[in-house]
Amino acid sequence: MPAVSKGDGMRGLAVFISDIRNCKSKEAEIKRINKELANIRSKFKGDKALDGYSKKKYVCKLLFIFLLGHDIDFGHMEAVNLLSSNKYTEKQIGYLFISVLVNSNSELIRLINNAIKNDLSSRNPTFMCLALHCIANVGSREMAEAFAGEIPRILVAGDTMDSVKQSAALCLLRLYKTSPDLVLMGEWTSRVVHLLNDQHMGVVTAAISLITCLSQKNPDEFKTCVSLAVSRLSRIVSSASTDLQDYTYYFVPAPWLSCKLLRLLQCYPPPEDGAVKGRLVECLETILNKAQEPPKSKKVQHSNAKNAILFEAIALIIHYDSEPNLLVRACNQLGQFLQHRETNLRYLALESMCTLASSEFSHEAVKTHIETVINALKTERDVSVRQRAADLLYAMCDRSNAKQIVAEMLSYLETADYSIREEMVLKVAILAEKYAVDYSWYVDTILNLIRIAGDYVSEEVWYRVIQIVINRDDVQGYAAKTVFEALQAPACHENMVKVGGYILGEFGNLIAGDPRSSPLVQFNLLHSKFHLCSVPTRALLLSAYIKFINLFPETKSTIQEVLRCDSQIRNSDVELQQRAVEYLKLSSIASTDVLATVLEEMPPFPERESSILAKLKKKKGPGAVSAGELEEGKREGGEVNGAERPGDNAAIASTPSPSADLLGLRSAAPVSAAPVSAGSLLVDVFSEAGPAASTAGVNDDGFLSCSSALSSAPPSVVSEDPAPPLPESDELLNKFVCKNNGVLFENQLLQIGIKSEYRQNLGRMYLFYGNKTSVQFVSFSTTLNVQLKPVDPLVEGGAQVQQVINIECLSDFSDAPLLNIKFRYGGALQNLSLKLPVTINKFFQPTEMSSHDFFQRWKQLSQPQQEAQKIFKANHPMDTEVLKAKLLGLGTALLDNVDPNPENFVCAGVIQTKAQQIGCLLRLEPNAQAQMYRLTLRSSKDTVAKRLCELLSEQF
């Protein structure tokens, strides 16, 4: 090169950089840079043209200044000029500047594209590579638009150099990732796939990245790559370590390529062709065999490369999940890693084993490593590895080893890291429940859990234990006894007190026979904890006390004494005070029979997915607990709790707030209406008791509130059904009779706005769903009892989605369509039904007519069923202008000078339906003195007149 003589090192640049490095302060640096910038500006501005070398030098300096964090706003043109140089270094610096500094919306982009195009067609491989790298580095949509067609051609052309092919493949991958719609492979597909057969390993490695990405989007088109990949893989695997020369890395042949091939194969199901499959299995076996061979080198790179391939192969084996033989072998080889010195290997082995454990073929094999895993859990130094070990234990657990694993996990829990404790607690709780054969064991385990790690026991866990105890008659006595014993510890966790309170309140009678746990002893034990507890626990304990009164009448006076004391009856907490007052009254007024009914034992809980499992799922995301496992959980849960009990709606409805959680149900089920005998009985009791009556259904621990429960058991609380329309939806509907836009509905979570327009028998309605919270709504869906376009299932916090409904009026109607909205907000299903404000009057076409015409038609419609008349009192002040506006909003034409009395309003219009047109005449006679209206409607169709009359009478 001729430039060598002038010094390709660019001395000026080196001096400048060393100057900057030597600057003692920021200010000095800025001064130096300003000086340099001025110098470059004057050079660029200068009249005499710069030669390529100095241009390159200055552009390079600018680049350096930019990388120091200063803005550069000139020099782009010079950089573009450099592109057309035919010296490599100058071109390279030009491309470098452009990929770093030129943003996509620059006006220079056309010049740049032109230069790139020239280079791409230049046949000079280095220039082509530079251009391709620049395209990939910028990677903008404009670049994709300009070159997406060109690059595949370069990629598959026969005469392209290997290095260019490599760059082209990666460049195409980049463009595909930014704008997949512009990169159309169509005709090139098969030729791209055949790159897997290329002689040059570098090309294959680059192409396989591209193919993997493409085949994830459209697997069918690239199906042919499977057999090619298998043959390529087998060639690599079977090659001796010296065959591939450049691509052998520390005695391992082409490790990166092998990993990528294995990963590509994971995009597809096992090959159907027997030969291919056989070959693949052979490959995998070879890989497993090779992993067993003694290492050829002691270098860590050698073992890393070997293990990378091994893990990728195992991942493929797990993905196929069809070769029991391989699965078991994989499991055994992973087993060797469990005690490996490398922490990373142990981690990876545990992680892969987790997935192996879920396969039916290898589950047993995984179980053989239980001792090692338990050991890892105990002795491992790295917390993330311990976490994996816990995961694996959870995954390998089944009926045969549940007791051992649960015991180990419990003992580990005492020393476990704080960050994983909560998850461990959940896992122990789930395993204990899932594999419980003996329920006394289950109760013991959970109580132990609360004792050891009470702080980490979430509500769901102790809710669940109560559910199970209540549903299983056979453990109730044992549970009561165990709880009683556990409570005797001097310091016990609040959750323990909660469980104790609940269970003794329900089943304390089962152990009352023993003098050591006589009713009074039980009560005193519970009450000794009372003062140490938080308000919700105290509230629960109060409920337990009133249950005691029912169970053991002999404790009545003692308990009444407690309830009556100032600290209860005058407690500053409203909830506690209310409970104390109500229970005191209830116990003193109600007869034993009434008490027994009111304070009856809780009915069994209905069957549902274990709430704990749902919690774990939420905590870990969908990946952690596989769907199959959930199914199993459900099934097992079903076994535990016995047969389904249909008539348990009462119990569901009886549990507002926290225990609604317990049941995994937080529907907006309206708690109202449908009084049932027991409920009314209770209300009677309270109405005798005086003002306390109004506060019946406030108990929110779902324990005692069977009373209010019974009074409110709408049968449709099952959350999947559409909720009944909100009671206020009729009112909402009326708001929209005379207007088309506004807010239809609003609560704390959601706001629904409406915009609508109508023409003849057609209408279009825009619904806006606004999320008022900061949390996203998931699985958002809306259904109309007519059909509806689906709406975006996610509503981000604070965001709004829009839905368009096209409406066509086929014939006249009186009921508004129902809109049902369902979504999940923070895990809870929300369900609400609204009437869409589409009323018959929306399809009015105004008709102008003279006084004469009007009365003629009026007379024509004189049959009694054609007229609807209503006399009603004004709801709003009588303002002529407002009335006029409302009547116009109705859609009719307001006719002046028709009625002899100017106070009266007369309107005419035609309702357009697809089937027919219905003429309507309207007369509204206000009586200002009496504040009354008389509304008369005549229509050719009687139902229309009636409906309109109803609608309108609400408006004035």
Binding site: S25, R32, N39, R41, S42, K45, F74, E107
Partner: protein
């Protein structure tokens, strides 16, 4: 209550580290370096809170001084202390530089022990300090026991800033009124903001324990006297001359009670140089220079600038060290300057044309014109046109302050006010003196 004091060089290396309280750990040293000195974005605030620890820093050339505390300390006190600390160090070894600090680190630790005790600032008067912290360590050994005990009683006594028994053959007194004028003016010549901050610096070489009284044309004093004297003529003539002082602070030697009651400034001066008072005025400021800018954009690639400066004071006075700084756009590629007087040069490293004039008499005017060539850029941002700034020095006080008298009384020794030789000097400098263009 300062917990500790660190001095760093520009690289963030610790030169001096003195911790006064246990709540400041060693990691505080690193925390400041990482979060302030080496911060990715320049830290502008002089106070930084890092992990419940407050760092107060000042920078002198390339040296960072940081005071650290965990308590809710009076920030103004800390900064006052840091400035005092800088003054003391300058008085001992001149310019504060890495070199000087390294050469004097024993002295600095000695000073730090003296002027801060358990984080509470103590006597930071250079004159007093110099009596017992000397740079020539050997000399202090020759001090007699009596002298040493005298130091103790003096430092802890009522007048800690002056020792007894000072004798001079010639009783001399120098008084400098140093002012800096700050101005922001609109292109049309409208004053947007202006104020003068001034200092009265004294150098006294007086024998014994003299009592001094300082008088100036403070408006309140003049008005009071005018009323008391009831002579209209005197009131008028002096009233015109008087100035309104917005606020002022004094050296610790001034008797504040007397100032509060009679507004008279009386004090027993320290020996040597000290700052008697600081003040600020905002009304009736004499602006020594007027800058008239004229900027014309000729197309996208050229800018014509013409700046006229007019001096606005008595023709007999001479302004010195005049420097006008005309900012240039960031895409300047070349500059041609023509000026009648002085020298002008385009300084690329500062993005400005600097025009220097050595001397200029009052009521004169001078002009510079420049042609600036611009490089077209693809940046759409318009040039922000920073203001033209100016530096100068004039031999009068722009606030209009006049020293009326400085009386010295020494009852024990036999010299009177007339025997003291007094020198008064006024210097007006530019602070931030800017005109928008």
């Amino acid at each position: 209550m300062i917990g500790g004091l660190f001095i760093y060089n520009h690289k963030g290396e610790v030169l001096i580290s003195r911790v006064y309280r246990d709540d400041i750990g060693r990691n505080a040293v690193d925390a400041f370096r990482v979060n302030v000195i080496h911060a990715r974005q320049q830290v502008r605030s002089p106070v930084t809170n890092i992990a419940r620890t407050s760092f107060f820093h000042v920078k002198r050339s390339n040296i960072w001084l940081a005071a650290v505390t965990k308590q809710n300390v009076n920030a103004a006190m800390v900064f006052e202390f840091l400035y005092k600390m800088c003054d003391v160090m300058t008085a001992y070894f001149g310019k504060i530089s890495e070199e000087n600090i390294k050469n004097n680190f024993v002295l600095i630790y000695e000073l730090l022990d003296e002027i801060l005790d358990f984080g509470y600032p103590q006597n930071s008067e250079t004159g007093a300090l110099k009596t017992f912290i000397t740079q020539q360590g050997i000399k202090s050994q020759h001090q007699t026991k009596e002298e040493q005990s005298q130091i103790t009683s003096q430092v802890t006594g009522q007048i800690g800033w002056r020792r007894e028994g000072i004798k001079y053959r010639r009783n001399e007194l120098f008084l400098d009124v140093l002012e800096s004028v700050n101005l922001l003016m609109s292109p049309q010549g409208q004053v947007l903001s202006a104020h003068v901050s001034g200092r009265v610096v004294m150098k006294s070489y007086l024998s014994g324990m003299p009592e001094c009284k300082f008088g100036m044309n403070d408006k309140i004093v003049i008005d009071k006297q005018g009323k008391a004297g009831a002579s209209d003529e005197a009131g008028k003539s002096s009233g015109k001359q008087s100035i309104a002082i917005d606020d002022c602070t004094f050296h610790q030697c001034v008797r504040l009670s007397k100032f509060d009651s009679e507004r008279s400034i009386s004090f027993i001066p320290p020996d040597g140089e000290y700052e008697l008072m600081r003040y600020r005025t905002t009304k009736d400021i004499i602006l020594p220079f007027r800058v008239i800018p004229l900027v014309r954009e000729v197309g996208r690639t050229k800018l014509e600038v013409k700046v006229v400066i007019k001096s606005n004071f008595k023709p007999s006075l001479l302004a010195q060290k005049i420097e006008v700084r005309i900012p240039t756009p960031l895409n300047t590629s070349g500059v041609q300057v023509i000026c009648m007087k002085g020298k002008a040069k385009y300084k690329a490293s500062e993005n400005a044309i600097v025009w220097k004039i050595k001397r200029m008499a009052g009521m004169k005017e001078s002009q510079i014109s420049a042609e600036i060539e611009l490089l077209p850029t693809n940046d759409k941002k318009k040039w922000a046109r920073p203001p033209i700034s100016m530096n100068f020095e004039v031999p009068f006080a722009p606030s209009g302050l006049k020293v009326r008298y400085l009386k010295v009384f020494e009852s024990k020794l036999n010299y009177s006010d007339h025997d003291v030789i007094k020198w008064v000097r006024y210097i007006g400098r530019s602070g931030i003196y800017e005109t928008r263009c």
